[in-house]
């Protein structure tokens, strides 16, 4: 009997369950999609992603807690809507535990349907994720059916875990509640969380103070070691919580008694609609604000990491760089292989000689040359000053970069030509500088102000500073952030640091390609950014082995950052879930009350309010509901995004490759656009539902429905 009743209830109330159903399906899709990455052979084959499964599992556990809470909230909300129905069951003599069983059956039924419905979109989403991941690695993507039984099993376990976790509170409540309590549900307005106006204003003042202090801690960072960020985070969360407990209460007590405010511009209904649910709304708005803040911050941080990888790759202009410590040597065997495998062009390479670097003209696609030390530190001082001025900590320099580094003009011009940069006519009696944009101003000032500045007896051109991307960001390329371009005649006065073979290939190099190069070339190893050894004078060097050549360049540098993709994926995973959670709560608030709203709109229509005005009021209420938690969330997430992006930028680049604020702004904007798209969909859906409900209310045809 109860089985039939639960089945009939689930079918009858499907309209009301639709939102619950869609939210569950979205969760199943997201969980399945991210879990399938763990079991995908294509993803498993990608290098440096060993941590990805563990991060996804950890994120999924967090998702279970978050989604369990939202499911609990939605079930509890729907229960209260159906309180009268449950009271009738109780009055008819059905025991509370049997009603709880009925409820459990209904939700399990909905859960099964949502699980089945969520798997197919989940497979589609997993393909999108896989495609995006492979694109990050520069690998081609082939569409396939991503059905993994272990992923399905894992999704099933997570899903039922969060569903049962979400239901436990409601089941407990229904077993304890009395019929009279159920009958009285939803009849009276809620009391404000802070009833006294003075207390509300004090709480508001304290929360604003907490906000200012939070921002202060995060911007100024007086404590250091991350404690200030922790304290700032705590204070900002306190601000969000306090703000939403105090503001509605303060406004209600202040505006509720001000007839001249509430009776103007049709504010009355919107205002009272809000204050009627003030207690639950205050808590929900605070929670939503925290969820949205986290979602935007996570997405912005993910975007910043992604941008950092892209920028880093863009700054490395040479696809392949092979370095040889202390000598130039013969790079022809590498050149031969690179040409055959990657160029696709019939280029010619001369036999390289360690004696005559300027004549090592391999082909238009590659070139080998030397990097020298000048024995001076004028420009290094400017560089170090710039690092300190941009708020970064000055790292101990590698042994090769403790003096100004140089290259010959002829090599420089050939490299420019190789990269397709504009032709320059350099004065063979002057020195020039090529640096990263962040150093341009400092170096120009130095060359203008210091008339005695010279390198190997050659003075510097006054305006001779160039800033195109030139593989200078990570060191062990063309200098550490800058390089001096000296006349060829200066070579005798310079000390050779390392020889470089630089090539530009026709296509991106995958991790497999890099592996193939090192495997097929004996004596060639990857230049490992994480390893270094101490040199004879105690300074660290990345040339770990004495008699080896080192493979570097754009794709090697990028491969070193592959582990960051795991973090990006998890950040977006959590961000997506948080938006879905928050928007689902809002939509529940909006759509859960549709019967009450219909009745309200019908009364307003009877009293002579036009359909247009009712529609405007509905839009106003929706906008209030959707914007209120968003505004403080955006404000706080700006602060957190700044912190996260700044930390990322500082950890990866000694000098900013773009302005910090631009960097932060771009990350934030990207995150906001992504967030707005998802949020906008929910807003539009809620608006359409309200509009439909409104049509049913304002038209005379539905009024017949009410006619006895």
């Amino acid at each position: 009997m109860l089985s039939k009743l639960s089945l009939r209830n689930a079918r009858r109330a499907f309209g009301e369950y639709a939102l619950f159903f869609v939210t569950l399906s979205c969760c199943v899709s997201a969980i399945y999609a991210f879990n399938s990455l763990i079991f995908s052979d294509t993803v498993k084959a990608l290098p440096d992603l060993e941590i990805l499964p563990w991060l996804i599992i950890a994120s999924s556990l967090l998702v279970i807690l978050i989604m369990g809470w939202i499911i609990g909230y939605m079930i509890s909300y729907m229960l209260r809507k159906r309180s009268r129905e449950f009271s009738i069951y109780m009055i008819c003599g059905i025991q509370a535990r049997r009603i709880a069983a009925l409820l459990l059956r209904e939700n399990v039924l909905i859960g099964i349907l949502a699980f089945v419905a969520g798997i197919l979109p989940g497979m589609l989403l997993s393909q999108i994720l896989e495609a995006a991941l492979l694109r990050l690695f520069g690998m081609p993507f082939c569409l396939h059916v991503p059905f993994f039984l272990p992923a399905l099993g894992l999704t099933l376990v997570y899903f039922w875990g969060m569903l049962l976790y979400g239901m436990r509170k409601s089941i407990r409540w229904i077993r304890r509640v009395q019929p009279c309590e159920l009958l009285r549900q939803d009849q009276s307005n809620e009391k404000p969380p802070v009833s006294d106006r003075g207390r509300a204003v004090t709480l508001l003042f304290l929360s604003l103070l907490s906000c200012l202090a939070g921002f202060g801690f995060i911007w100024i960072q007086p404590l250091g070691k991350g404690y200030d960020v922790l304290a700032g985070t705590g204070l900002l969360v306190l601000f969000l919580s306090g703000f939403f407990r105090s503001v509605p209460a303060a406004l209600t007590s202040r505006l509720g008694s001000r007839a001249h405010w509430k009776y103007k511009k049709h504010r009355l209904v919107t205002f009272r609609d809000f204050t009627a649910r003030i207690h639950s709304m205050s808590s929900i708005m605070g929670i939503l604000s925290i969820l949205f803040m986290l979602s935007i911050t996570l997405a912005a941080t993910g975007t910043a990491i992604g941008m950092m990888v892209t920028r880093s790759t863009q700054a490395d202009v040479f696809d392949i760089m092979i370095l040889r410590h202390g000598e130039t040597g013969d790079f022809s065997r590498y050149a031969q292989m690179i040409r055959e495998d990657f160029s696709g062009q019939d280029s010619y390479s001369q036999d390289l000689s360690s004696q005559d670097l300027s004549s090592q003209d391999l082909s238009p696609r590659d070139h080998s040359y030397g990097i020298y030390a000048s024995g001076k530190t004028d420009f290094l001082t400017v560089r170090n000053q710039a690092v300190v001025e941009t708020g970064r900590r000055l790292n101990r320099p590698y042994a090769e970069f403790r003096q100004d580094t140089c290259m010959l003009q002829s090599d420089y011009l050939k490299l420019r030509k190789l990269l397709g940069y504009r032709d320059l006519s350099l004065d063979p009696a002057l020195c020039y500088v090529h640096c990263v944009p962040a150093l341009e101003r400092g170096i120009r000032t130095l060359t203008r102000e210091r008339n005695d500045l010279e390198c190997a007896g050659y003075p510097f051109a006054r305006e001779g500073v160039f800033t195109e991307p030139f593989s200078q960001n990570n060191g062990y390329g063309n200098g550490m952030d800058y390089i001096l371009i000296v006349p060829d005649g200066a070579v005798k006065s310079l000390r050779l640091l390392y020889g470089v073979y630089a090539a530009v290939t026709d296509r991106p190099l995958s991790p497999d390609d890099l592996g193939r190069i090192t495997a097929s070339c004996e004596g060639l190893v990857l230049l490992d950014g994480k390893r270094a050894r101490s040199g004879p004078d105690g300074a660290p060097t990345r040339f770990v082995y004495e008699d080896m050549d080192y493979l570097s360049g754009k794709w090697v540098s990028k491969a070193e950052l592959h582990y960051l993709y795991s973090i990006i994926i998890c950040l977006f995973y959590l961000s997506l879930i948080l938006v879905i959670t928050g928007a689902a709560i809002l939509a529940t608030q909006v759509l859960g009350d549709w019967q009450k709203k219909q009745r309200q709109n019908r009364i307003l229509s009877q009293l002579g309010m036009s359909g247009d005005l009712i529609s405007r009021l509905v839009t106003r209420q929706l906008a209030l509901l959707f914007l209120l938690p968003l505004l403080p969330a955006v404000l706080v997430s700006i602060c957190f995004t700044f912190i996260c992006t700044k930390k990322i930028l500082v950890s990866f680049f000694q000098l900013p490759i773009v302005t910090d604020l631009v960097w932060m702004g771009q990350s934030l904007m990207t995150a906001l656009v992504l967030f707005s798209v998802l949020y906008g969909i929910y807003f539009a859906a809620a608006r359409i539902c309200c509009e439909n409900s409104l049509k049913n209310t304002s038209g005379n045809s539905i009024l017949f429905y009410e006619v006895r």
Binding site: S188, Y263, L268, D273, Q600, Q606, L607, S610, L703
Partner: protein
Amino acid sequence: MRPGCRKPLLHVEHIEKYYGSPQAVTKALDQVSFDVQAGEFISIMGASGSGKTTLLNCISTIDTVSAGHILLDGRDITAIAESDLSAFRRDTLGFVFQDFNLLDTLTLEENIALPLTISEKAPGEIITQVRRIADRLHIGDALQKFPSQVSGGQKQRCAFARAMVCNPRLIMADEPTGSLDSHASRVLLTFMEELNQDMGATILMVTHDAFSASYGSRILFLKDGRIFNEIHRGEKTRSTFYHEILDVLSLLGGDRPC
């Protein structure tokens, strides 16, 4: 107040109302005609399904007629465009329902003020009018309370105040005492009678309760969608009139229309 020979406030002329599909038509109103003079208090009685609420809904423009005309102040309300109906209802009609139809989220004061805010009256004027009508209906002390915090009688008086506050041409009450106990019903009906007599309010009340109907000056009896009988109170006491109503009601079991 007796109807005179002057032009009626409300003129209902041969209205018909059909429900349902072409295969199964239900005739809710059948050639109903009557007049209401300004300042009259008319009760409409009949058994369940007799068409009394349908008639009220047609007059209040909530429902449309299938045939016939309804003229209010000489204006044919069956021909008013959909877009003008809201303004017409706001400016001309007042409604009182059995289940009060108050907004739970608004205080009694705000519920009464609602039609005035819709008409965009100045807040000062709203407050004055709300106070005046609330004091008259003895709910001045409960104005800051929400509907869930007051009795059924207070709720219905609030609903009546809301219907009256814009000084509508016609007040329509659909079973206003249906959810009230006998004491609250009597208090409300007394107020309605006073408003009718003192302020000249025109009231059209649908009820199936003979006692409530006896407060009216004229009673229309509906049966199967047609006017079965019509009686006037005249100079009779309410007790006499009440017994007369009961006599008519006993006849409603028959099938002779008037």
